[in-house]
């Protein structure tokens, strides 16, 4: 393995930049696993209100972009997907799609996304993926996306973690700058300062009465357990002040009683609770549809229902109307699936997929794409939707314009992003 970042930079540069970084880091808390190659950084401004809260939704398993936002006007789509295609919006089928203009459509199960789309606050970016790796392995592709640099097994921190590490806290006294509604920390947030997973926010607490002894014991203990314990106890105190169970969403929004719905509901509670949360992550599992994917009535349709309902409710609750909570939501997946359906009514691992962004300052109401086409010679290796927009282009634009952090070379190392106009 190569370790380019350790080897390329001279020792002095590494030494200086790292020391400076740690000094700055002590403004918040020393981060558990900062990359040693981190270039010198400029701290993002920290006035309250100049940055959005980022909500990151990860569709694990490789979501089929050709179903999520289907190109009904590309005739090859129906040839490649004889049994899995969504019927045209102008067809008479009860399962017909919902047109997003003259080329793309949403499947009917994604109907809750129409309101934010028509309000100009939901954006889809298509033929979007990872241009610098051709990996079709979930674990590699997820890792590469989450760490913000492909083909590198030496990076231990996530891109969102490095955004947080290179920006001063929005609220200096907040014990929890970022959270993940998961058991364990996803790579996207690995190494983030003052961040911890809170799988069940409503019941986050310590049952022991002897917390004073725990405070003393953990003060001398090894990081990362010390940070986890001390910040964890402070976060327990904080979350106790929020009443998750009786939270009433605004604008009549209803979160479904499923994993993603309840996770976004908890995140909305924390955002409105104004506890200094800057980023929240949630996983949606089950998008690896090799067999019987069921674009209309099946696994994929169920997944899309959960996804669209959750995002629709979150939009109503947090974004609809005049109140601006300053939130940007992104939804990513590690790769798309083969353009052609396989022999088992499913689709195998492919390349480009679709990405969603939602927010008041997102250039929504459109599908941004450089459509590569679906003819055999247009497909990558003759089988997959070609990546024409790198996901880092989209993420970097959000980081710079909505999170107000210009340290893109630290967050997406060795990459020069090209902004695609995803923010207003």
């Amino acid at each position: 393995m190569n370790h380019p970042h350790d080897d390329v930079a001279c020792d002095e540069y590494r030494h200086v930049s790292r020391r400076r970084f740690l000094e700055l880091g002590s403004l918040g808390a020393a981060s558990a696993s900062l990359p040693s190659w981190l270039p010198s950084v400029t701290f993002a401004e920290s006035e309250n209100g100049v940055r959005d809260v980022l909500v990151s939704v990860f569709l694990r398993g490789g979501a089929d972009g050709l179903t999520l936002v289907a190109p009904y006007a590309d005739p090859t789509y129906y040839a490649l997907r004889p049994t899995l295609a969504i019927p045209r919006p102008d067809s008479s089928s009860p399962n017909r799609g919902l047109a997003l203009g003259t080329f793309f459509m949403l499947p009917p199960t994604m109907a809750p996304l129409m309101a934010p789309y028509l309000s100009g606050e939901l954006l889809a970016v298509h033929a979007c993926g990872q241009s610098a790796t051709k990996s079709r392995s979930h674990f590699e592709a997820e890792r590469y996306l989450e760490q913000g640099k492909p083909e590198d097994y030496t990076i231990q921190s996530g891109w969102l973690a490095r955004h947080l590490a290179t920006s001063a806290p929005l609220n200096a006294s907040a014990p929890m700058r970022a959270t993940s509604i998961t058991y364990g920390m996803p790579r996207t947030l690995a190494g983030a300062p003052k961040s911890l997973p809170v799988p069940r926010p409503a019941s986050f607490g310590v049952t022991s009465s002897n917390t004073a002894a725990l405070q003393r014991l953990y003060n001398g203990a090894w990081t990362p357990m010390r940070d986890s314990a001390i910040d964890g106890m402070a976060t327990v105190t904080l979350l106790k002040k929020l009443d998750f169970n009786s939270y009433r969403p605004a604008n009549g929004a209803t979160y479904r009683n499923d994993n993603l719905g309840q996770s976004l509901r908890a995140i909305a509670t924390m955002i409105k609770g104004d506890i200094g949360l800057e980023a929240a992550h949630v996983d949606a599992n089950g998008w690896d549809t090799h067999a019987n994917q069921g674009s209309v009535g099946g696994v994929l349709a169920d997944n899309m229902t959960e996804f669209a309902s959750a995002l629709g409710a979150f939009w109503q609750d947090i974004m609809q109307g005049p109140i601006n909570y300053r939130v940007t939501l992104i939804a990513t997946t590690e790769f798309g699936r083969n353009a052609r359906e396989n022999g088992s009514l499913g689709t195998d691992h492919g390349r480009a997929s679709v990405m969603f962004l939602m927010g008041k300052a997102i250039a929504g109401g459109q599908v941004i794409t450089q459509w590569p086409g679906l003819e055999r010679e247009q497909l990558e290796d003759g089988q997959d939707l070609r990546v024409t927009i790198d996901m880092r282009d989209v993420l970097a634009e959000v980081v710079q314009n909505r999170l107000n952090n210009r340290n893109l070379s630290a967050i997406f190392p060795d990459y020069t992003p090209r902004f695609r106009g995803v923010t207003k």
Partner: protein, 517 residues
């Protein structure tokens, strides 16, 4: 999933064809500050994590270091045994589990889980389709796995079962509840056998073939899911040097490896692609389609090559070193284990002798217990027993639900790479660790499904010194920090009572040093 299997049966792929092939099974080094042992750049590359993990300077005894690493918590009997016979002899005993009497555990498991263990694959699939797999299979199997680990006198063997179970991971929620047979027939019989036997058995695991879509992989339509993971996760590893073309070609080689209607492995020659294939440098010329086992030999030959491939040796050596020794094994450490792999022809016992050398363990930094390890070690060291669950639908299940709450329920990881073995993944879970370890350590008069600590073990001398001494011995093998010693005395200061002893046990198991091993 239900639709999926019906669909599979409808397409005829599930119909019995050809002859069924049954699943075959075929001088102690002083601890030094870790950072000092490492070239700066290696430490730095891991983001400084290593220097923060630190050495536990109080852990001086080599035998105790071996016990911590090779068990889910050392029992008092095992501490005595290891100190008596010494490091190498104790390791040798544990490497030969069949010579260790474990009949109490076996009897208990056989009696308690009689219904689960009597299931056939066909019955398990019926439960998955029409029954309550959560109550009939998922929870009992999780509970049985925990209870076995808790009671067994063969702790190293159980650690290896856990390792391979993650390595050849099949989620308990999918694959028609066939994971039971994957554990019983693939993992457990081979956990200390030969790597090649494990690979061969895993290729005939109906759970694995279902889970990774191999049952859909035919000459008419390739499904490359299993072929990829067989190389990426099970053998040569992600950087093993294969290409996307190799993945597709291997999928063609494996066409025909399938499952019959009874949920048992079956090779189906009519699904096999008999055209020429080249995969990973190995050529399979075109041949005439045959019957019986014709064409199956291609997969068998290829698997043998994989088991003996240098990349496989390195991948498994490094992974075992991470499991038992440290997150960043050196090239020299990996090389030593690879040599043992080569010399022994992939004998897991020989490989483990190299991994678990005295020198490796004396230099090993403290490792964070995963939640299951934490919970079982709390139960083992406190001599807890489990009260059987009377009503699975209503009663609290103290051997299953705490793991669910900590994100580590048995077989619950959603992707085929198995639960992570990285401290940074689990470190954020501290609040849930505390709460759940408190939950599982309970005292008498608790209802069905609970676990009950034997407080009398800690009250043989009912004084503060006596109780603290018993905790030091039982939970920490005699090596406990002065800080924790002082805190335990504070808890007991108002007088030794059963409830204060339980408080002291809770604090000891929540303490930082109990989180590591």
């Amino acid at each position: 999933m239900k639709t999926s299997r019906r669909e599979w049966l409808r397409t005829g792929l599930g119909a019995a064809a050809g002859g069924a092939v049954l699943a075959s099974a075929g001088s102690p080094l002083a601890p030094a500050p870790l950072a000092a042992q490492l070239p700066t750049s290696r430490n730095a590359r891991l983001g400084g994590l290593l220097s923060q993990l630190g050495q536990q300077a109080a852990w001086k005894s080599p035998e105790l270091r071996l016990l911590r690493r090779t068990s889910h918590g050392q029992t008092a009997d095992q501490v005595a045994r290891a100190l008596d016979v010494g490091y190498e002899a104790y390791l040798e005993e544990q490497l030969n589990p069949q010579r260790i009497d474990d009949s109490d555990c076996e009897r208990h498991i056989a009696a308690t889980y009689r219904e689960l263990l009597a299931l056939t694959p066909r019955q398990a699939m019926n439960i998955a389709d029409n029954g309550s797999p959560y109550f009939q299979i998922i929870r009992p199997l999780g509970r049985m796995t925990v209870e076995r680990t808790m009671l067994s006198e063969r702790p190293l063997y159980e650690r290896m079962v856990e390792f391979w179970s993650d390595h050849f991971h099949v989620p308990i929620d999918g694959a028609y509840s066939l994971k039971l047979f994957h554990e019983q027939q693939v993992i457990r019989p081979n956990a200390l056998g030969k790597v090649s036997d494990l690979i061969n058995a895993s290729m005939r695991s109906s759970a694995m073939l279902w889970y990774l879509d191999q049952v859909w992989n035919t000459k008419w339509g390739i499904n490359e899911n299993y072929a990829r993971e067989l190389m990426e996760l099970h053998t040569v590893g992600w950087d093993g040097g294969y290409s996307q073309t190799d993945v597709r070609e291997l999928a063609r080689v494996l066409t025909g490896w399938s499952v019959d209607g009874q949920g048992i492995f079956q090779y189906k020659p009519e699904l096999h692609d008999f055209d020429a294939k080249t995969v990973f440098g190995m050529s399979f010329p075109a041949r005439s389609p045959g019957t019986g086992l014709a064409g199956m030999d291609e997969g068998i030959v290829f698997a043998a090559m994989l088991a003996n491939h240098p990349a496989t040796k390195r991948f498994i050596a490094a992974k075992l070193l991470r499991w038992f020794v440290r997150p960043d094994p050196t090239d020299a450490q990996i090389g030593t284990v690879v040599t043992a792999y080569t010399r022994s022809g992939g004998d897991i016992k020989a490989i483990l002798r190299a991994v678990l050398s005295r020198e490796n363990l004396m230099r090993a930094p403290a490792k964070l217990k995963r939640p299951m390890h934490l919970m079982v070690s709390a139960l083992r060291t406190t001599g807890a027993r489990a009260v059987p669950v009377v009503d699975v639908r209503r009663d609290f299940d103290g051997l299953y639900l705490p793991l669910e709450a900590m994100g580590h329920r048995i077989g619950g990881w959603p992707t085929p790479d198995g639960y992570p073995d990285r401290a940074e993944f689990w470190a954020g879970m501290i609040i849930d660790r505390w709460n759940n370890v408190n939950t599982v350590l309970q005292v008498a008069n608790t209802g069905s499904g609970w676990t009950i600590v034997d407080l009398d073990l800690f009250l043989t001398t009912p004084t503060v010194d006596g109780v603290v001494g018993a905790i030091r011995t039982r939970l920490f093998g005699g090596e406990m920090s002065a800080d924790l010693d002082a805190e335990l005395r504070t808890v007991l200061a108002a007088g030794v009572s059963r409830s204060r002893v339980l408080d002291a046990l809770h604090l000891a198991t929540m303490a930082p040093e109990f989180q590591f091993y």
